[in-house]
């Protein structure tokens, strides 16, 4: 979708045009779901997060500054919503079968076979000891591949805070992987 069309849809949505807003939802829902799923590691919770995100977007659309990138703004709403959920709830931490992780580490083609449930379990197993902040930064930087500047905009953290949280998250994950390699379960 080009910028002009996007701006037009945003303007129409601001004037309560439901059809225009539906197109915005259709355009961004998959991206938001992917982020929510990677953070919450659960399909139902991720779907709820997508729904809540777009309702918040709708409610706050009149205050949206069109000089900003719409996707970043929606991303920020979704990330903060998931972050709040991570802080308040204790999320499930389904124990990942050792074979699945072995498969991931040994087979180059595994990504094509993995289904959402396994992916959720894998991410949950890897990241369940991270703090919500570390998990958010790790997901945005390493899994979603966002540049630091965009993460600053999304999370409101400083670049240094992002760096330190990312460092700690990676260190914790490496330690976990080491334990697994040493024969202990993760």
């Amino acid at each position: 979708m080009d910028q002009n069309t996007l701006n037009e849809l945003i303007e129409r949505s601001k004037r309560n045009d439901g059809k225009a807003f539906r197109l915005l939802v259709e355009e961004n829902r998959q991206m938001i779901y992917a982020l929510a799923f990677r953070l919450l590691c659960n399909e139902e919770e991720a779907r709820d997060a997508v729904q809540e995100t777009f309702i918040k977007v709708w409610m706050n659309l009149k205050g949206f500054d069109t000089n900003r990138r719409f996707s970043t703004w929606v991303y920020a709403i979704a990330a903060n919503l998931c972050y709040d959920k991570l802080k308040t709830n204790k999320h499930f931490s389904k124990c990942l079968p050792a074979e699945t992780l072995n498969e991931v580490l040994s087979n180059d083609d595994v990504e094509k076979k993995m289904i959402d449930t396994e992916l959720g379990a894998l991410i949950a197993t890897l990241t369940d000891e991270l703090t919500p902040k570390q998990k958010l930064v790790f997901t945005l930087r390493d899994l979603e591949d966002l540049p630091t500047e965009e993460i600053v905009q999304i999370t409101g953290m400083t670049a240094n805070q992002i760096k330190s949280n990312l460092f700690l998250a990676r260190q914790a994950l490496r330690t976990k992987l080491n334990h697994f390699q040493d024969g202990r379960s993760i």
Partner: protein, 131 residues
């Protein structure tokens, strides 16, 4: 180990979570939003709420005013406003005729004014009688 870690991240990254039944989710979002449009488009309802709230506050205030307007003995002895009222009640034959202790100040005052006007007429006529 570095390779294993990078490989794991790459694997996780390469699997994009897929949203099942995206149309159902969109419909559900739009349904909720349509309800919000209805709420957002009813200024009449907002004004009705404001008017009703204001009326309730005013009525409550009036009720409170009328209740506190009947002074107790201590207030009546110290507050000049109530001293005047007591004087009016004591002086007024009109009040005795009406015979109620719980009349409000407006009625009392009207009574007092009526008495005064009679007195004024008498005073006006007095010099004429004298002459």
């Amino acid at each position: 180990m570095e390779d294993q870690f990078e490989k794991l991240i790459r694997s996780v990254k390469s699997v994009k979570p897929v949203l099942n039944n995206p149309e159902d989710l969109t419909d559900s979002i739009m349904e909720q939003i349509e309800n919000k449009i209805l709420h957002r488009n009813s200024p009449l309802l907002i004004w009705a709420r404001i008017a009703l709230c204001t009326a309730a506050v005013l009525l409550f205030g009036l009720f409170f005013f009328q209740q506190t307007d009947a002074p107790d003995a201590t207030i009546a002895s110290t507050n000049p406003k109530y001293k005047i009222k007591n004087k009016i009640e004591a002086d007024s034959t009109c009040m005795q005729l009406l015979g109620s202790e719980h009349l409000n100040i407006v009625r009392t005052y009207l009574c007092y004014l009526q008495e005064n006007s009679i007195e004024n007429q008498l005073n006006k006529s007095y010099p004429l009688q004298k002459n």
